[in-house]
């Protein structure tokens, strides 16, 4: 079945995945931040802060945040690059991008640009950005290898790719607890708070289908990055991969 891919645990036609993912995010966009806070007990904010702290981004840099959603990373990057830098918040989903725009405006953050784009076809010149980030977005991309190649292309020499994503824990006990939480509690909370149990069932399933730390590292290196390392957060429930283009 060459033209199929996974949407959670389901196999679907490759061409259909994008619209299925779009439906999920259209459905959860308005409650996205609230749900993230509830489901991760606020830890997602710390993971994101750590990502930005690891970015090596400095004043005047150009940063692209892909699948940036409600703009958590873009806000922190904006503070780092200053007025001479450039931060682009992008997402494939217009509803999420609008939530990001509202969120930034409400927080008094200006100077961030918004672009609706597909990570597999980035509309930028080669060697443009000092940093490209994607937080909790790569697992929703249909062709991850193509997206990674595009990220490599638009990075400058010395540029850095940051991938923050759910991953695989080594601890058997943590895995049991996490599986129980993911498949029994998360979808129910999604049903109660966001009135959408199915989307949070997809979230749990898509996490399990996402490549583990070592596999993703190999994918980053195969996309021509010269270096890649990863750092497990919260016991490996989440991992930060950092690719460097020399």
């Amino acid at each position: 079945m060459e033209n199929t891919t996974y949407f959670g645990f389901k196999q679907v036609a490759t061409d259909d995945k994008q619209s299925l993912v779009r439906d999920v995010f259209n459905s959860v966009a308005s409650k996205y931040d609230l749900m993230n806070d509830v489901l991760s007990f606020g830890a997602h904010r710390l993971w994101k802060r750590y990502t930005v702290a690891s970015s090596n981004v400095k004043v005047g840099d150009k940063v692209l945040d892909i699948a940036g959603g409600t703009g958590d990373l873009a806000i922190e990057f904006r503070k780092k690059v200053g007025n001479n830098g450039q931060v682009i918040l992008s997402d494939i989903n217009a509803t999420m991008l609008n939530e990001g725009r509202k969120n930034l405006t409400n927080k008094g953050i200006f100077g961030v640009e918004f672009v609706q784009l597909n990570a597999q076809h980035l509309p930028f010149n080669s060697n443009t950005f000092d940093c490209v980030s994607i937080a909790f977005g790569l697992r929703n991309v249909t062709d991850k290898n193509q997206a990674l190649k595009e990220m490599y292309r638009i990075l400058k020499s010395g540029g850095c790719l940051l991938i923050l994503e759910f991953s695989t824990t080594d601890s058997a006990l943590l895995k049991k607890l996490y599986d129980f939480y993911s498949f029994n509690i998360m979808p129910r909370l999604g049903g109660i708070i966001a009135d959408d149990e199915a989307s949070y069932q997809y979230l749990a399933e898509s996490i399990r289908k996402h490549p583990n730390q070592e596999t993703l590292k190999d994918m980053v290196l195969n996309a021509d990055f010269d270096f890649c390392e990863y750092h497990n957060l919260s016991g490996g429930i989440v991992a930060l991969h950092k690719g460097i283009k020399v």
Binding site: R49, Y50, S54, G158, F227, L233
Partner: protein, 179 residues
């Protein structure tokens, strides 16, 4: 990952932040190092790190399969004495340091590491087990973001929580809880 590997990984993250803080503040010029990868390892302990210099910044990695431009190998006690001010040329003359590649590049890296004020004794003792690792060393003290970037109590609390989550050993909250 083994506990020591995790500790070492975190050290590289902190060292990277500290080095780039120096570069950003204009205290050092790394243009000579641009495009170079430098390996740095201790011969008597399984400690190694790699410095990748590009785009006017340094990335510090705990491991790589890539070939390096310069390799610096030395024993842990020599590493400590080097950071405490011992002259690199003198240590080279005494054959206490093994450098493959350009010595000037190695010298610049050593100068950078001296600027960061690494607590090498603590770094090494974590492996040898001489001292309980109650903190990540003086390295973090000099470049604690809470001290250098913000006096905002909310930011300090956020940084504290980040430290607790990412790096419990470093966290003040952890220390208080366990004291």
């Amino acid at each position: 990952m083994q506990p020591f590997a995790i500790f070492w990984h975190k050290q590289t993250v902190i060292l990277e932040r500290a080095l780039n803080c120096l570069i950003t503040n204009g205290k050092v010029d790394i243009s000579v190092l641009n495009g170079k990868t430098i390996g740095f390892s201790l011969q008597d302990l399984p400690l190694e790190m790699y410095f990748v210099c590009a785009n006017s910044r340094i990335f510090v990695l705990p491991a790589t399969d890539k070939l390096t431009d310069v390799d610096v190998k030395l024993k842990s006690m020599v590493f400590i004495s080097l950071l405490q001010g011992e002259d690199l040329t003198e240590l080279l003359r005494q054959d206490k340091i093994n450098i493959h590649g350009d010595v000037k590049t190695a010298q610049l890296l050593v100068d950078l590491l001296k600027e960061v004020d690494i607590d090498a004794e603590e770094m090494v003792s974590k492996y040898t087990g001489d001292i309980i690792a109650s903190q990540l060393g003086k390295l973090t003290k000099k470049f604690n973001p809470a001290d250098t970037q913000s006096n905002n109590p909310l930011e300090i609390i956020k940084d504290g929580l980040t430290a607790l989550l990412i790096n419990p050993i470093k966290s003040e909250l952890y220390k208080h809880k366990n004291s």
